[in-house]
């Protein structure tokens, strides 16, 4: 399969001098479901805005849908659909009117446009509310309408900037299903950015993990997690000053391949974590260390991020949950 997106040494600098994207290179093949996973401010939106012709790059070579970004931005805009992070609908217009306007702006007319609107309203299940003002839609409905409007001109490549941020679990699951269907049934290539681990894990066949404008890891979700080696033992410590000593103690236990300090405690990696957990607890206890929380799990993409950066993707949320003392 040929590359539908090819990015070489892309650098994007904001007018205030911030280097938002720092020399990244990646490629996406036709028909692929590809993702950028990273925390807020990692450079995900900047990359999407650059690739979709909304931001100017400082340097690098970018080709999208077979067109050079510098030479043919108009042709690129014709071939792509974009779902921006802000749900950009006209809330005064109805669902149908929003799609109609978008269609007209994309040079569609008459019965071709009317048929396409019907088809899309059916796809995102908004037929019943098509005549209501978009302002009266729920967050999930707005996102679905926005998705439909991004598809109006049948793009072969779809860019999605954090499509489910701020949505409830149910709406998120619905969006996931639409996206999987589009990729599988309509053969639309999808480039998605997300800060949600499970979203990247479930949807993306291949992904890059991005932080501070740099790609820090890439591969299939399975490859990335496999590279961690074994299972994870996560410990939360109330006393932060014990972190590095705990890490050293854990490293000395046979069977533990590696240990790292994280935001709220220490994470250790082991091939058969269940078999050595008793030893971990007794060894720590002997040294006077009592974690407030301990868990064993399969490695997640967050562990990949942690290994590369020493931080969690969503540090705030995780540490809040981990400090709840429901174990030990």
């Amino acid at each position: 399969m040929p590359d539908i997106i090819d990015v070489q040494n892309l650098v994007v600098v904001y007018p205030d001098g911030t280097r938002a994207v720092e020399d990244i290179s990646f490629n996406v093949k036709e028909g692929e479901f590809f993702g950028f996973l990273g925390p807020n401010g990692a450079g995900k939106s900047t990359t999407i805005k650059t690739l979709t012709t909304l931001l100017r790059k400082a340097s690098g070579r970018v080709s999208v849908a077979g067109y050079d970004l510098d030479k043919s931005p108009k042709e690129i805009r014709k071939s792509i659909g974009v779902l921006t992070q802000e749900t950009s609908l006209d809330v005064d217009l109805s669902g149908w009117q929003n799609l109609h306007l978008q269609g007209r702006l994309q040079q569609l007319h008459g019965s071709i446009l009317d048929d396409r609107i019907k088809e899309l309203l059916k796809l995102v299940q908004l037929e019943d509310v098509a005549k209501k003002s978009a302002g009266r839609y729920s967050g999930g409905m707005r996102k679905r309408l926005d998705l439909a409007s991004a598809l109006i001109h049948k793009p072969k490549l779809l860019f999605l900037d954090e499509p489910t941020t701020g949505l409830d679990t149910q709406s998120r699951a619905a969006i996931w299903e639409y996206l999987e269907g589009l990729n599988r049934n309509e053969d639309i290539t999808i480039f998605l950015t997300t800060q949600y681990l499970e979203e990247a894990d479930r949807l993306c066949r291949r992904l890059s993990i991005i932080d501070h404008g740099k790609i820090i890891a890439d591969g299939t979700p399975w490859e990335l997690k496999e590279a961690i080696g074994g299972e994870t033992i996560t410990l939360t410590l109330t006393d932060a000053s014990l972190k590095s000593r705990t890490m050293d103690i854990l490293k000395s236990i046979a069977g533990i391949s590696n240990a790292m300090v994280s935001d709220s405690g220490v994470v250790a990696y082991a091939k058969n974590a269940g078999q050595i957990i008793a030893e971990v607890i007794t060894t720590l206890d002997r040294n006077g260390i009592r974690p407030s929380f301990l868990s064993i799990g399969s490695p997640t993409l967050d562990d990949v991020f942690l290994r590369e950066t020493g931080r969690r993707i969503r540090a705030d949320e995780l540490s809040r949950r981990e400090t709840e003392p429901f174990l030990m």
Binding site: T52, L54, V82, D92, R104
Partner: protein, 248 residues
């Protein structure tokens, strides 16, 4: 064209906005003409009395009230991401600005027609007839266009609708009252007469007034259109400059 359709649909869906925008001019027209009937005695040689004097000023007030709408709309589209969405389509970029400008000019024309109809119903005769009315509408639309560029520039630059509202509040009252729009300049103290002499609102009102009461000279017409034209050109270039900065 589809963008014009968008704005007009929005307008129809927000009848309160149109109502509020029309309310002030009509209130001025009815209230002032009824309260200040004695002004007519100070206007010797003018047919139609104070009501005929006031009508053109109120038409210009319509233009002034319409002017900030474009700036507000563009600031909102910038903040909501709707502008990005439009930029990603195949629409030619100047059309985004043009669609907005045309809408506001159109609304000004509609409001002005309503104002003129009310004035005529109250007894005003437009001495220049239908061609005169058309020229009045054109002047109102042109004046609205010239002023809207100021607010579009501010709207794109600050992205804050509050700034536009504040600016329009600060600008409007002095501009409208220290001009020949509402009251004859000869009633003013010297300093206000000087301000009114250079106030563009006076120029726009004078042309329109001569169309109502008669006696439009080439000189009045040319000087007004020249001044409005200069403002229009300057504000439009400023708008274009800000707009290009945003879209590139």
């Amino acid at each position: 064209m589809s963008l014009l359709e968008r704005y007009l649909t929005k307008l129809v869906k927000n009848p309160t906005l149109l109502g509020t925008n029309l309310f002030t001019p009509l209130l001025f027209l009815v209230l002032f003409s009824q309260l200040l009937t004695k002004f007519s005695t100070f206007l010797p040689g003018q047919s139609g009395g104070y009501l005929a004097y006031l009508t053109p000023g109120v038409v210009m007030l319509n233009a002034m009230i319409g002017a900030p709408q474009g700036g507000v709309s563009l600031a909102n589209d910038l903040n909501s991401g709707f502008l990005s969405k439009m930029l990603l389509t195949q629409v030619v970029r100047p059309a985004i600005l043009l669609g907005r400008l045309l809408t506001d000019m159109f609304v000004t024309v509609i409001q002005s027609i309503i104002t003129i109809v009310v004035a005529v119903a109250m007894g005003v005769t437009i001495s220049s007839g239908l061609p005169g009315v058309l020229l009045m509408l054109l002047t109102a639309a042109f004046f609205e266009f010239a002023l809207s560029g100021v607010f579009l520039t501010v709207g794109i630059r600050t992205r804050k609708t509050e700034t536009i509202s504040a600016l329009s509040g600060v600008l409007f009252f002095p501009l409208i009252f220290i001009s020949s729009a509402m009251f004859p300049v000869s009633f003013f103290p010297d300093w206000a007469q000087t301000v009114a002499k250079y106030n563009p609102v006076s120029y726009a009102s004078d042309v329109t007034r001569d169309l109502v009461v008669g006696g439009l000279t080439v000189n009045t017409f040319v000087s007004a259109y020249l001044l409005i034209g200069i403002i229009a050109l300057a504000s439009f270039l400023a708008t274009l400059y800000q707009f290009r900065k945003v879209i590139s």
